[in-house]
């Protein structure tokens, strides 16, 4: 039985929702695979080595980087799922903050102190030790570890995820009709 681990880094969980979008085929999938670390079963750490790692999102804080490296260590195949995992998606837009010497500070100030509609009388930017430190910019998964497959889409359709996952689980070659591939 193959073992799958999934994680959402700097993503919106849309790709996980799309994974649930395979509908009744999830019963077939669960006959073939066992889910290890995943937000779907709320397991927070690996119980052993996995065959397939399903990565959603890119790296925007140090915890993301540590998690991604852990996945690379524990998984035979890493699959980057969705535009965020491939090219950064929406989080990567903060890399394009222009006209600033401190783009990260400007980004945080916009969010927590002087952005439109922000009510924050203390004027403080959250800085609790429990919060993972933000990175200077958003790093793509491919800049941190090696990925074995990427599935484009925002999110990829349930059908596309099913085609790829079932091929990987059954060790078959992947054949994707081009109409199934969407980048948004």
């Amino acid at each position: 039985m193959k073992r799958i681990a999934t994680v959402s880094l700097a993503g919106c969980f849309g790709c996980h929702m799309s994974l649930l979008d395979i509908d009744e085929r999830i019963v077939d999938l669960l006959k073939l695979v066992e889910f290890d670390r995943s937000p779907l079963n709320d397991l927070k750490s690996f119980t052993g080595r996995c065959d397939i790692g399903f990565i959603e999102g890119s790296c925007c804080n140090e915890e993301n980087v540590a998690t991604l490296r852990e996945f690379r260590k524990q998984c035979q195949l890493l699959v980057g799922v969705g535009q965020c995992a491939i090219m950064g998606g929406l989080p990567v837009m903060r890399n394009a903050i222009m006209h600033s010497d401190e783009p990260l500070l400007e980004c945080l100030e916009e969010s927590f102190t002087h952005g439109p509609g922000v009510y924050n009388p203390s004027n403080e930017i959250p800085n609790d030790p429990a919060l993972p430190l933000l990175l200077d910019r958003v790093y793509l998964c491919s800049e941190v570890v090696r990925l074995d497959y990427v599935i484009p889409g925002c999110p990829p359709s349930g059908d596309l995820l099913w085609e790829v996952l079932s091929a990987l689980v059954l060790d078959k070659p992947i054949h994707i009709p081009p109409w199934m591939v969407k980048y948004d």
């Binding site: 394009a96 090696r146 497959y149 969407k182 980048y183 948004d184």
Partner: protein, 252 residues
């Protein structure tokens, strides 16, 4: 006006020749480009910088084919008698995929936030050649200017692929010379002939500002964003080249 009227000298006197694409026999007029002859015969050769109604430029190289084993850009290469052309082979598909991936990596092509998503030729082409293998090129993530000065038209040069279609449309169709290339090599970009777009003579009726001209989301019309819902956008309904492939078998 036919593109190559200068070469062929009129419909009647044009010499007919034959050549093959992937083993299929094609009849063409002498002086026609390979791409034009293939289009007429209903064989689609993928392309980005070439569009019907504008002179071919041969800059994107996505239409690369092998003629007698040598790679050429089919939009600018005139056909000669008995040429053996390879179009849809594994090797050429890989070249095209790499070219498109490099264009995607060079700019900021954030499809989920782009207004042109679903009618973007670069996106449709990338989907056509998608293999789900990660590519090894780095994402350059450039920070290029956005010009929103014009009341009706906006330029987001982060998405420009420098195909030159707006340049040719503005020069040859509108005769306004609004756009032009600046710089060389990796620094080459498309500029406007004034301090910003608001000070140029461009307006909404120009060919350069039409939806067909910009293959990506660089030239955007204001206030009509996301006019087609997902599922009814241009390339949701048909892939680029479907129209050309439909011609196959007609007129023979």
């Amino acid at each position: 006006m036919a593109r190559h009227e200068a070469f062929d000298g009129g419909e009647e006197t044009r010499q007919r020749i034959t050549f093959t694409i992937d083993g299929e026999k094609i009849t063409a007029f002498a002086g026609q480009s390979i791409l034009e002859a293939a289009d007429a015969a209903g064989i689609y050769i993928p392309r980005l910088c070439d569009v019907e109604g504008l002179d071919p430029q041969g800059s994107c190289r996505v239409c690369t084919v092998k003629v007698n084993s040598r790679p050429v850009a089919s939009c600018v290469h005139p056909v000669s008698a008995d040429d053996v052309v390879e179009n849809d082979t594994e090797e050429i598909r890989r070249w095209r995929r790499d070219l498109i991936k490099m264009l995607l990596h060079e700019g900021n092509h954030l499809c989920p936030i782009c207004e042109a998503s679903g009618r973007c030729e670069l996106q449709a082409m990338a989907a056509r050649f998608e293999t789900l293998e990660p590519d090894l090129y780095p994402y350059l993530q450039p920070v290029r200017p956005v010009d929103a000065s014009h009341p009706d038209i906006m330029l987001d040069t982060n998405r420009c692929i420098r195909c030159g279609r707006c340049i040719r449309a503005s020069r040859d169709v509108d005769r306004k010379y609004v756009f032009g290339y600046i710089g060389r090599g990796i620094h080459k970009r498309v500029g406007v002939n004034a301090t910003d777009l608001a000070h140029t003579r461009i307006d909404l009726d120009d060919a350069a500002a039409s939806l067909e001209t910009c293959p990506v989301g660089c030239i955007i019309r204001k206030r009509v964003g996301f006019f087609a819902p997902i599922g009814r956008r241009q390339f949701d309904l048909q892939a680029p080249g479907d129209e050309i492939e439909k011609r196959k078998g007609e007129g023979k």
